[in-house]
């Protein structure tokens, strides 16, 4: 039950404990945070199961871990380790350019990234129990997460008041299942929780995503690439609870030290963009 919370990327048991103490609702176990994955280049894979197990043993909150897109054996391994949720993630190098994992075959719930409504509904149709915006991971530039949240929420609003025929046409246009599109139109939200992720680096960034309608946020490199991770982690948790209170946000944002340095989206060569992985 992660709604209204902050999920933090961690690479060691020590970092997981810091995240738990700060009030994270879950941690994402990785071998490197996205900013370092980006820097290192090469093939990015599932984290070492030893690290994942150490993190599971270190904290009482849920532990998530990432599998490569389409790599159902990495997902099997993560399920065997006992992770609480699996992220089929574009941050890692995709293993399959044709099929995402058939997530309905797993007991462990999945979270998947999406850039627009069609992509979100395709993932839900495969069994994703949670959607997150892709954003552009490891940049500290929130603009892509904002773009993806606009795309998803805007399209949902467009569905309002449409007839069944019109909804079916939209479903075809966005390549999404008709029943899920109709359900989304009716509920005026995704049928599963929708978190923001990718480039969130400050309490204000987190609150911005909540104001745009996110059910919660993932913070990747933004915590452990900042100058004072413990302080930043606590502040982002508090900001998500106070996202609609500017006075509280002003207090929460004071004296946190430097956020992660970051990389603006315009500086990244096209072939190094992560969000276009998956479809």
């Amino acid at each position: 039950m992660q709604k209204g919370g902050v999920i933090m990327d961690v690479t060691t048991a020590e970092q997981a404990i810091i995240a738990e103490k700060a009030g994270a609702v879950a941690v994402m176990a990785l071998h490197a945070v996205p900013a370092d994955i980006r820097k290192a280049g090469g093939v990015a894979r599932m984290a070492d199961p030893l690290i994942v197990s150490q993190i599971i043993d270190a904290v009482s909150i849920p532990v998530m871990a990432k599998t490569r897109i389409g790599h159902f054996v990495e997902a099997d391994i993560l399920e065997a380790l006992g992770v609480d949720m699996i992220d089929e993630s574009e941050v890692l190098t995709p293993a399959d350019d044709q099929f995402h994992i058939e997530k309905l075959h797993f007991t462990t719930p999945f979270v998947c990234g999406a850039r627009d409504l069609g992509e979100a509904l395709r993932r839900i149709n495969e069994g994703a129990a949670m959607i997150r915006t892709k954003g552009e991971a490891g940049t500290g530039d929130v603009s892509e997460a904002v773009r993806h949240m606009h795309a998803i929420m805007g399209k949902i609003r467009e569905l309002k008041g449409k007839s069944e025929q019109e909804i079916n046409r939209v479903a075809r246009e966005i390549d999404a299942p008709a029943d899920l599109t109709a359900e989304t139109a009716e509920m005026q939200r995704l049928p599963v929780v929708n978190f923001a992720a990718g480039g969130i680096a400050t309490p204000a960034d987190a609150a911005l995503m909540m104001r745009m309608g996110a059910d919660g946020v993932f913070v990747g490199s933004g915590i452990f690439k900042s100058e004072q991770p413990e302080v930043m982690a606590k502040a982002i948790v508090e900001a998500v609870n106070n996202f609609d209170d500017p006075k509280a946000l002003a207090e929460i944002s004071k004296g946190l030290g430097l956020p992660m340095k970051g990389l603006s989206i315009g500086q990244i060569p096209k072939e190094e963009i992560l969000q276009t992985r998956g479809w």
Binding site: M1, Q2, K3, G4, G5, E20, K21, A22, G23, A24, V25, A26, S60, I61, P62, E79, G82, V83, D84, M85, T107, T108, P109, V237, E238, N241, N242, D245
Partner: protein, 192 residues
């Protein structure tokens, strides 16, 4: 007019609000979400939803709501999942139960996410079983004086009542069965 406050720090807030709206429709009743101090004392009933107990516990302290709950312990309260832990006397390095109910609890008593389950549960105060959804659920190990176990799984209590306080280890707000929310409303009636 009755006001029911739902602690809205994190977790299954909207689901509880929706369930309370359904059971109170037609009654003169207002549902209010609580993220800050200053509201608790005006409420006739309070719900502490499920979520992550570490997060909820820390933010209750940060916002000063923990003290308000202790100062207003006469108000009927319903705690579900993490809310059950908050009502109990549980203490560890990250979670401080408020001790409003006289019971010892265990966090994640039934295992991790993959061990979550749904169960048709016999409840002492209902005529027929309740379909209960357990997600990384806590459980009641031991209870003190004045507290009744309303339902059990294995050796654990999973629903308990102490006067006008009700604690459930599962998520009644995620099922369509509103009997526990109705039962809670009756606790408000008998207190006022």
């Amino acid at each position: 007019m009755l006001t029911i406050g739902v602690i809205a720090i994190q977790g299954a807030v909207s689901e509880h609000v929706a369930a309370l709206e359904k059971v109170s429709s037609g009654l003169n009743c207002k549902i209010e979400t609580i993220k800050k101090k200053g509201i608790v004392s005006h409420c006739d009933g309070l719900v502490i939803p499920g979520g992550e107990s570490t997060t909820i516990s820390r933010l209750l302290r940060f916002e000063g709501i923990d003290k308000e709950l202790l100062d207003n312990e006469h108000i009927p309260m319903l705690g579900t999942c993490a809310g059950l832990i908050i009502l109990s006397s549980y203490q560890d390095k990250d979670v401080e139960g408020l001790g409003l109910m006289n019971m010892q609890v265990k966090r994640n008593a039934f295992g991790r996410q993959a061990e979550s389950f749904e169960l048709s549960l016999e409840v002492t105060v209902f005529d027929s079983p309740f379909d209960a959804i357990f997600i990384r659920a806590p459980a009641i190990k031991q209870v003190g004086n004045g507290i009744d176990i309303l339902a059990s799984v294995e050796d654990y209590g999973v629903a308990a009542q102490q006067g006008n306080k009700l604690a459930l280890a599962f998520h009644p707000e995620l099922s369509d069965d509103l009997r526990f929310h109705k039962y809670f409303l009756q606790l408000l009636d008998s207190s006022s």
